[in-house]
Symmetry: D2
Subunit: 330 residues, 4 copies
């Protein structure tokens, strides 16, 4: 049991039967409809090509899963096929880092959207190595540095994996070592960022250690069902509603959601907030995790990416589903 | 009656008595408490000094008002003292422009946060005169250009004033001509932006016309009560709940809220989303309009600004109020 | 007689017969050869299109003139056809401004190359309205502000014109009012820059006055012969060798040459220094003035511009001529 | 014997006695005067602190040497004390790379000044990994990549050392291994740049190999006399005048001089061109190599740096010497 999640137990948990995740027919029908409308768009995006293991993925794949705070599960398509969650992992490492160092984290990372990748480098220079937010690569590398605390990369990778397995309530979540290796081999831009941060004295552990954790977290392989389940605590005031256990304080969960809304989709974060209106985090593997406060979590996956590096069909599916369900924080 | 707001009337409006705005004792007590905790911070910010009429304002002023969707009104402090709403007016001109041209607006303006003022110029150059969003000055100037449609600045200024009076349900809302004149006299940066836009062919009306409208909208003078009332439709799915009349479609209201959340506080938008979690728009006059979907609208005013150009005490007050009421979109 | 140029008279001038400008057959033959090799390139560039009066110029025009410090003149092609010197005028206004305020000028303008136009705006923002050098538009606008000294634009325009006529030793040099008017009508980017400077408090005279001078100086209309003659003092340690009169101190002439070499060709200044190795200043009218220290001045004109905004055929001609004559400062 | 320098021998060399380097009393007296005027400034700059071996150097050191094309040598101060030449080495590796690949080099590196270090990163991003010029770090790293040609770093380091010893006509020139090690240990910014370049596919050899060469070339340890002697070929049309042997073609020497003038002093290159008017290259060790075409080469050293990272006293000394001798290319 992780120290983080063992720290409290809901007062009434002992007394009531927790709802186990169970299928939901109505929601499933809606997801099937969404999947059908998305189908014509499946070939339109471009699969991320910089990592061989990612480039090989079939671009016509599409999966979607919803897990609600009262334990219903609905899926459509390839919702139980594992994919590389890539940057979505930043939500989980941020959560872990906040649990460790609390608001001290914000001395080393900002909370503002960064605009284009171009801007993020310019700003990193102007702001002397303080990344704009924890969801750009530079920020996520600082998060791994926070997690390291002088430990070996392996220990931290194990901790991250154990934490995500706990959140997903599924020990089958794994790290794809081939993907992790590929990330390291082709990760010049991330090496550049990490050394840039180190040049400003913003990394306390060796560049190689921080990047080893980073490349492994990006290589987490999960299904839509696992991912939605893992994000459920964010829809439930920081509490895992199906175990009735606190993961983070309510305020912290709201804040992670705020960061996802303002910074979760690279330079399309504003557009996604505008069109979909839900906190979300995307990854170049084609996955998106979205949070519907007080309702549930959504995970969608389709490998073809739009011009902003977000799942093309996944974004369309989320927009349809949110519209149909009336799910918007606004 | 404005064409915009006359276009529909709620089906059931004829049959029920609409709630008139009425005082709310409990909420007032809470606002008084918030005002008391804010008091020690009233001298800390810096009053915007670039316009004489703004620079003369007493920095110790503080007012707050809440108007709820069911018609309750609560206030504390100088909630009925008029102040210069400045950039908060961008919410109202955006609403008007969307009513006129709909989503065509987004061909000329983006929907992404812009980061620092420095970035906004860099991006305006890189993106060939397409402002990042309608809440940075460049974007708001394009919005005035959309409103002009070849008309005289005076006609558009009248239309904006009439619209804001309608939303505020108060014909006493006025434009402070001295402030408008001061804006024009000291507005080199805005002239520079407008000519920059014109250089990219992004203005269809004369620079002087667009800026005349812009300088006048910034000079709108409103009280917290008027401002909260005027923003109420954004908390109520685009409908003025006290008149039971549509202002904009529900989807559009959600989208304006999304823009306020991601772009409403300059380069502190992410931080405000993180700490407060409500859509809001601030102005250098020290005012902030915030929206609590399905609950109501808040207006707060205190002239001292923090380093990001947002009301120092106003931001603190909003954070306290939101925490106390549990008001957050996340 | 201008005060500037009347200030001294060479000690030995009374005693020797000054060489009047006279034709030089050998040099003419070389220029003819250069013109012949350039001919195939005459259609390749693009004529500046933003001003109607410039856009109408025949792109196949080509002229070149050399005036040597011992008074020889050689020409080929359209060397006696007047063209719009545009930014080349910045050399003359800089010379005038230095004569007026000396090194105090460098408190308001830098002396570094600015890179691309994109960079020049970024840097102007970062450096709070101090233009990088007097040859970018922002710097030249500050130079006009220095020249104004509270006077009317007309008075300064007259002074600039008189000065250039004196340097060219030809009262026929004129300002093309149609071009000046066109510059003003299409000059949004320059209005933007001027207001940007004014926003930083870097203009002491009205924006309209500074720009009026600027647009008129750009509209100076000169022939290659006039232009080479006017630049001769820069090849002769600041002294007009044909009148034996000082224009500027030797050190100052060297420094103007240094600025021309490092900053005279926009973002191709380094490349021109590399390929040609002579101080020079180009204009979008297709003219280039180049200086060969201790030898003479060259003016070349061909309206087609390369990607960097410098005369395409003119640059090739200068490179050939410099190579053939062994003219390089390096 | 290096292949590069063995390729030709002056036709008339057999017939005349080459002047060996010999002391020059008059020039020595001038250098002594320059040294005396510089003395009060010796404590003013800041010694580069990022490498322990450099930080330990006594800031009051000052040396200057001139070697003329006719073989005279003059010195003052610590002209025979070895110091770390750092970025001055970029002149020698550029010369070697041009000898190997000729103008193909310019497909991978530009020839324009880069402005501030901030700009150089921004531009590197905008220009997709093509460094602005060979004298910024990114450009010099690409030069080492060109030199590597698949060889081991050790082989290239040996080649560079042999080449510099040949140019300096002194086998005592050495690489300070402690400095090279320090560069590698503290060189995060250079690792960042190299990975950035590699991310754009601009390095053909491993990042570690290119940086190993780079860190070693920066650690070259030379005296002012050795350095001036090594740069003499640039003052003599690419020919070593004391051995009567070609190093590079005349055109190439002029072009290297042009690059030194426009790009040799970081973001003060324009200012140095303006004040001194000679091609030069500075290093953070406090050394400057300057070239006086047709006259000779100057090396000056004083460890205290000015705000632009150039030797404070060295720059003053160069300015005095150039003024006194009338040495300027303009």
């Amino acid at each position: 049991m992780l120290a983080l999640v063992a720290e409290d137990r809901g007062a009434g948990a002992g007394g009531r039967v927790l709802t186990a995740a169970a299928p939901d027919g109505d929601l499933t029908a809606i997801l099937e409809r969404v999947a059908a409308t998305v189908r014509p768009h499946l070939g339109e995006g471009r699969v991320a090509g910089y990592i061989p293991a990612l480039a090989r993925v079939d671009p016509s794949r599409f999966g979607i899963a919803v897990v609600t705070v009262d334990g219903r599960v609905a899926t459509a398509g390839d919702a139980r096929v594992a994919f590389s969650i890539q940057s979505i992992s930043k939500v989980f490492t941020l959560t872990l880092a906040l649990a460790k160092v609390g608001n001290d984290l914000w001395k080393r990372i900002g909370r503002e959207p960064s605009g284009s990748p171009f801007n993020s480098i310019v700003q990193l220079e102007r702001e002397r190595g303080i990344p704009r937010n924890p969801f750009i690569n530079a920020g996520a590398i600082v998060v791994t540095d926070v997690l390291l605390e002088g430990r070996s990369p392996g220990a931290v990778i194990d901790e991250v994996l154990e934490f995500v397995r706990y959140l997903a309530d599924d020990p089958a979540v794994a790290i794809d070592e081939e993907v992790a290796r590929s990330e390291a081999e082709t990760g010049h831009r991330n090496y550049s960022l990490a050394h840039f941060l180190a040049g400003f004295g913003q990394l306390k552990n060796p560049v190689e250690s921080a990047l080893s954790v980073y490349f492994h977290q990006c290589a987490l392989s999960m299904t839509c069902v696992q991912l939605a389940r893992a994000g459920l605590f964010l829809a439930s005031a920081g509490r895992d509603p199906l175990r009735d256990r606190k993961v983070v304080r309510p305020e912290r969960a709201r804040r992670i959601n705020a960061l996802m809304l303002t910074c979760g989709h690279y330079d399309a974060s504003g557009d996604v907030a505008f069109r979909i209106g839900l906190p979300g985090k995307s990854g170049v593997g084609g996955g998106i995790l979205a949070v519907v406060p007080r309702q549930g979590a959504i995970a969608v996956w389709s490998p073809g990416l739009n011009a902003n590096g977000n799942s093309h069909a996944g974004t369309i599916a989320l927009e349809r589903l949110a519209a149909e369900m009336g799910w918007s924080v606004f």
